[in-house]
Structure formats: C-alpha cells, structure tokens
C-alpha cells in the first residue's frame, strides 16, 4: 500500500469510506489506483498538482464568491484522487434516475394541466398552489414533446452502510457540469498512466448530447433550430460554465440585451440585423426572464419572451415553473409521485424528511434541533441551513423562531454521515473528506445520462457542506467496467 495510504485513517466505524472497507482492506475497484499512488513521492504529487493548477488557471476556471469583495475569483478546489464507481453500482443509479426524472416530468405535466394528483389527494393541493415556484399563468401551456425538465442534476449521497440516496433534485438550472468535463481533462494531463489501467467510461460527448437534446425540443415548425445559451452575465458565479458550454456546442452565448422580441418571435441582435432564435438554454432564473411578466426591475431578461414561449415560437430549457417540483417540501413526496405515475417502487431512496407544515412533524423538529439538519425549502447552494450537531444553542433558537413563523418554508432531515473519500488536504497527507455525487440527466426524445457526474468534496475538515460557495471542491469521477 502506498506511503500516502499507509498513514491514512479511514475511521470506518463512524463513516462509510469509499476506498477502504470496514475490514481495513482496499475495495477491489481501487486496487490499481493504490498501486499506482504507491509509486509516487511527495514531489511527484506536487508536480502533478502544478500541472492541474496551470491547466485550470489557463482555462480561466474560476468561480466568484458572493459577499466578498467584487470580482474575487478563485480557482475551484480540485482533489487529485479520483472517485471510482463500479459499473454495477452505476447502472442502478442510472435506472433510478431515469425513473425519478420520468416521474417528476409526468408530475409537472400533470400539475400544469389536469392536476389529477391533487384531485386524488396524493399531495395536499395547498402545498403546490401555495409554492412560490408554481406559475399559475402556465397552466395549459404545452412545451414540445411534453418535456419540462430537459437538463437536471440530482444530488446523490451514501449513508454509513453505503446505500445510495437522493438528497435533492435540481430541476431549474443545475450547474457544475463544466467542472465534470474539465476535471477529466486535467486528470488526463496529470495521470496519463492511470487511465491505461482502468476501463473508464467516457464523458466527453456531453456537449454534443446537450446540443442534440436542445435541437430535439425546438418548435415543430422549424427544421434546423437555432439554439442559444442565455446567461445572466460575467458576474454570475457560473459564467465560466455558460460560456464553456456555448463554446463546446458551437452556439451563441447571449445576454438578455442580445435578444429582442417582435411579434412574439425572439431574435438575436447581430451586426447584420436580426436572426430568429428557436431554443434558449437559459441559465437565468424564472423571476428574471421577462420584466413584463416577472420582476419588472430585471435587467437580465427579455421583454416579451414569455409570450413568445406561450405561443410556441421559442422553447425554453428548462421550462418555466419547474421549481415547483424540486422544492424541498415536494421532495418528500417523490416516492409517492413515482408510485402514482409509474406504478413502480422507487429504485433510489429518499432521505427521511419531516415537514414543518405538518403539526406532528413540527413538534418533532423543534424537539430535535440539535440532531437534525434543517433546510429552507427554497434556498440552494448551502445557504439557509442549520446543521444541528454543529450548531450553537443560539443558532438553534433563531431557527426555531423562523420555523414557527413560516412552517411551509422548512423541512428537516436526520444528519446523515455522508460517505468519505481520501483526499489530499495539502499535497502531503490524505484525509477522509465527505462527498456527494451529482449526475447530469438530459431529457429530449430519450433520457441520456453521461456516466458519472460531478463528485463534490467538502475540503474543510469534518465539514458536511460540499457546495463550492461554502469551501467545497471536486474530484474526477470514474465509472469503470470491471
């Protein structure tokens, strides 16, 4: 075993370790990797770290941290040890996600049409109709092929026994896929020999698959749809990704001011006049899309866009109003949603969830704030969260007040010890860091999932928060055929 792994303490009594089993031996799919790392000295690792850093810096792969000085850009922290997912585990995840996304899309289609699931009282109607992401004005609108959620990224975690769970569904504008692609490039440069030893499923076709999906959902009347990406602009933390995807697909990256609507059709403003647009892969939130319909102060949107969409002259990916299905409260109903629309048992489980809007659950939550994770239903990016075991009494009291004042807005889950993966803390020693997995699901005429996804890693010692805005980093993720 390598000198790095000799000194590594997996603490398998408390956590599921991805590399070392409870018996203390490496799991078989990590054998070859450990053998390779056994040959590396600290200087070898440092040299490879440098290759990776130069690659990321030259590519401009940075993200912006809000709340700090404007324009502070940081390299996205990257860990050199890849995560290996054996193909039999992956195939179960893949099936589970296809099932889950199919059901959630059926759910959205139903909610924006007949609302049968509400009439059958499977979900309390007030939870849907009262959600801030429910867009009443889109009831009855028919997106092409009946698809609402073209690009999604569900977060998957493992518990102490190694079981996979879905922690949340991101059905609006999930980010991070560019890191998945760039991580692979960086690893190929830094560890070419290691790639020889494994049969790693390729992910490089993601941009082509994304473009194909976007072309498939264009308005029926247009033969070769003109696709553009819509970004909030260069100050958005995911701007790098927006431009990266546009470049990889070979389509225009647009800001709201590049687009104009005339006679319910959308056009780009070019140096040679106007050109019609058919599909917009938008990375702008619903609320900012169209100042005539949503926030009137929005400078990121396009006046008239929503009407063009309702007329079927342009397709938005994802559709407007998908947030109603990835709300953390609706999350707790997903197993029922799968059962209701598909008549199947969920392949991937949900994390048990208590709803503060339910009086019995509320009582339980308030009594157990020190052991639960409490989340605001509509926040993302690790904001608005209370991690019970790590919180102070004062923080718990603050949260209790907020929960009682607005119970619809809060849910609680048990604190799950996320699985851990050895990661280089500095370049000299390995620590077990908590990880999750975000696979990216594309939904056009068929559902496509590029093998693997983005493994996010909490690089603060002991931290459970993997979001990049909160000090998280990432790893390359390999789905390997045995």
């Amino acid at each position: 075993m390598s000198r790095f792994f000799e000194r590594y303490e997996p603490e398998t009594r408390q956590f599921f370790d991805e590399v070392i089993s409870t018996e203390g031996a490496p799991r078989p799919h990590y054998d070859k990797m450990l053998q390779r790392f056994a040959q590396f000295s600290i200087d070898d690792i440092k040299a490879r770290r440098e290759i990776v850093n130069i690659f990321f810096r030259n590519q401009g792969i940075t993200f912006t941290v809000y709340g700090e000085e404007e324009g502070v850009e940081r390299l996205f922290p990257f860990d050199l040890i890849p995560r290996v997912v054996p193909s039999h585990e992956w195939e179960r995840i893949e099936k589970g996600l296809i099932q889950r996304i199919t059901a959630l899309n059926e759910f959205l289609n139903d909610i924006y049409h007949a609302q049968k699931i509400l009439k059958d009282k499977v979900i309390p109607a007030e939870l849907i109709l009262g959600s801030q992401h429910f867009r009443r004005e889109f009831v009855g609108v028919n997106p092409p092929l009946g698809i609402y959620i073209h690009v999604t990224g569900s977060d998957i975690i493992r518990d102490k026994a190694g079981n996979y769970f879905v922690l949340e569904d991101n059905l609006r504008t999930p980010s991070g896929v560019s890191y998945m692609l760039q991580n692979r490039q960086a690893m190929k440069r830094a560890f070419p020999v290691l790639f020889d030893k494994y049969k790693i499923r390729p992910i490089e076709n993601y941009p082509q698959e994304l473009l194909r999906t976007l072309q498939e959902i264009g308005p029926v009347s247009r033969r070769e749809p003109n696709v553009v990406v819509l970004t909030p602009g260069i100050y958005n933390s995911a701007y790098f990704e927006h431009s990266f995807l546009a470049r990889q697909m070979g389509v225009e990256l647009t800001e709201g001011k590049d687009l104009v609507v005339n006679n319910n059709k959308v056009y780009t403003r070019t140096t040679r006049g106007l050109e019609q647009v058919d599909v917009i892969y938008r990375r702008v939130d619903d609320a900012f899309l169209d100042p005539l319909v949503f926030r009137p102060d929005s400078k990121l949107g396009v006046a008239g866009l929503v009407n063009a969409y309702r007329k079927g002259n342009v397709t938005l990916a994802n559709a407007i109003g998908c947030g109603v299905a990835d709300d953390k409260v609706i999350y707790s109903f997903v197993p029922k949603i799968i059962k209701y629309y598909l008549g199947e048992e969920p392949i991937l489980e949900n994390v048990p969830t208590w709803l503060a809007s339910n009086p019995a659950d509320l009582k339980y939550i308030l009594a157990n704030l020190d052991s639960l994770v409490v989340k605001a239903a509509n926040e993302s990016g690790g904001y608005g969260m209370l991690i019970g075991p790590e919180s102070t009494i004062e923080e718990q009291e603050n949260f209790a007040e907020m929960i009682v004042a607005n119970p619809r807005n809060y849910i609680a889950q048990p604190t799950i010890s996320l699985s851990r993966h050895p990661s280089f803390f500095n370049d000299t020693e390995l620590w077990g860091c908590h990880i999750d997995l975000r696979p990216y699901v594309l939904y056009g005429k068929t559902i496509t999932i590029v093998p693997g996804g983005l493994t996010r890693v909490a690089l603060k010692r002991g931290s459970l928060v993997v979001n990049s805005s909160q000090g998280g980093g990432s790893k390359d993720t390999w789905v390997v055929d045995e």
Binding site: N58, G233, I234, N236, T268, T270, T271, S298, K299
Partner: protein, 357 residues
Amino acid sequence: MLSRVAESLFWMSRYFERAENTARFLDVNFNLLLDLNKITHIENPNYWIALILVTSDKERFNSLYETYSAHTVTDYLVFNKNNPNSITSCISLARENARSIIESISSEMWEQVNNLYHYLQSVTPQFVHNDPYGFYKEIKNASHLFQGITDNTFSHNEGWDFIQIAKYLERTDNIARLIDVKYHMLLSEAQSQPEIVEGSEDIIQWMAVLKSCSALEAFRKVYLSKIDPDNILRFLILDRTFPRSINFSVCAAEDALWRISGSSRHRYVNNADRLIGKLEAELSYTAIEDIYAKGLHIYLEDLEQRLVKVGEQVHLTYFAYHTPEIEPLDIEEALPFTGVAGGRANWSQAQQHQQQQ
C-alpha cells in the same frame, strides 16, 4: 455576429492598444531623462506633466496627487485603479471584455490577456522603479504577442476586422496626442528658454517621439540622419508604409471597415465608412505645408475629433442595441458612446449574482 460580441472584441482590442501606448510614453520618457540628465533633473516636473497632458487627464491627476514626479506619474499611469486609462485598468478592462466573449475568441488569446493581467497583479511599484526598461518592454512584448496570437489563431473574418478597427483608431489617436503634446512642450520652452529650442535638446526630444513609436530606425531608412521636425512630422503623420504612422493606421482602419460592410472606393454603405474614407482621402493628398498652413495643433485637434466621430458611427452601425423598426428611438435611453465597455460593467452585477443550484 452578435453586436455585443463585436463590441467586446472592439473594446478588448482598444484597451490593449491603449495599455501598450501608455507603456511606450513612459518608457521613452525615462530614456529621455537619462539622456538629458546633464542639463536637467530626473524629477523635473516639466518632463512628467507632458505624460498627463497626453492622456487629457490633468484634472483627475490633480485631484489625486500634489506634484508631477517620476513616482506620482508612474503610479497614476501604471497602477492607479481610479484612472481608467492606467495600464492596470486597461488590461483589467481588456480582460473583462475578453472574459465576456471567452467562447468567441481563441483560448490562446484568452490565455495571453489573462497572463498579462496576472503579471500586472503581481508587479509592485518598487519593481517598476528598479527596472522601468524591463517592465515596459514586458508590456510592449505582451501586446505584440497578443496581436501575433490573434493573427494566427483567430479567423480573419468580421470579428478580426473589429479588432483591427479598434486597434488602429486607438493608435491614430495616440500618435496625434503624442505629437500634439510634444509641440506644446517645445512651444512653451521656446517662450521661457529661447536659447535651447534650436539646440541638441530639441533633437533629442524629437528622437524620443520617434522612439516611442518604435519609428526611429524606420525613419532613418527614409530620411537618413536628417532629424528635423518637418521630416519627423511628415513621417509620423503622412507615411503610408510605417505601421505606427497616422496615415497607415487610418488606411488599415478603413480597410477593415470596408471589408465588413462591402464598401469600396466611390461607394460607401454607411456613415462610418464615409467618414473614414474621407479622412483617408484627405490624408493621402495632404502635404506637410497644408498642415502648417492650418496650424499643427488645430490640425491634430480636428483629427482627434474626427476619429471620435468615426467611433460613434461604428457604434451606431454595428453595436447599438437598438432596432428602430421594433423599438422607437428614445434619445434619453440610448447608451452613451464613451467607454461603453468600461461603463456598463456595474449596472446589473447585483442581479447576475443569482444563487445557482
């Protein structure tokens, strides 16, 4: 091409060229003072105020510093973030524009802008003070490298033409300002110290002007060693083959504009083409005596005004996010011309910070 992309290419190129020109002014000034240090002192404010006059920034400078010295002027023109034309500001803006169109430019172009930006972030005033020659050479070389990379990695189509227009409009403006300021200085010295106007110091100063355009060697090949103001002005304003002369730069900008629109001699498509064509035609049929007859200062000032007009028309023709057939013109709402790229940076920052999933 998206209008916004064209505009960002334009400003990226323009700010890069501006940074290079500022580095040239400063570099030559240091060299000049070393040549002159027998008669004057390196801190003589007269030699530093000129650099501020070149950039028409006297008021802003005076609000930030009390004296004109090597230290204050260098700080203002290289580092000061409150000076939108400082080398650091220009490269930051060039990079910001490049970043907003990173998917449209070649990755080599981006790496070059990005490298220069990071280099400037690491440079200290002490470093520049210790080795001004090395520092300014680094900036000039970075700019040349950027242009070479652009020529060799970026398709020579519409986007490349916008880069050329910006580069040559900016360069023309800078040459005109440089000549104008040197003229001012020599004039004021002639009034205060009449005895040295005809002397060797005058020649040294004119040589400095040539050097700052990298023009000394090219000039000598044409005029041998006859360094007199007439020839120098003839060369810097009217020469058609030297890439840092006004005539050459105007021709190059005209070529690029015509390639985009399809204009040709005797037939123009838009006002930008008309104005640049008129300017080019006049330059081609101007003799140095015509310029003297009008007065050098007035001639140059007029030239600068006309360049601004060309820039305005380029903006209106290709960049203005306005479609008259759809949105009725509202003068109040129209974006101002000056520093579009620099000025528009902040207006929607807060909203762009939407939380990401």
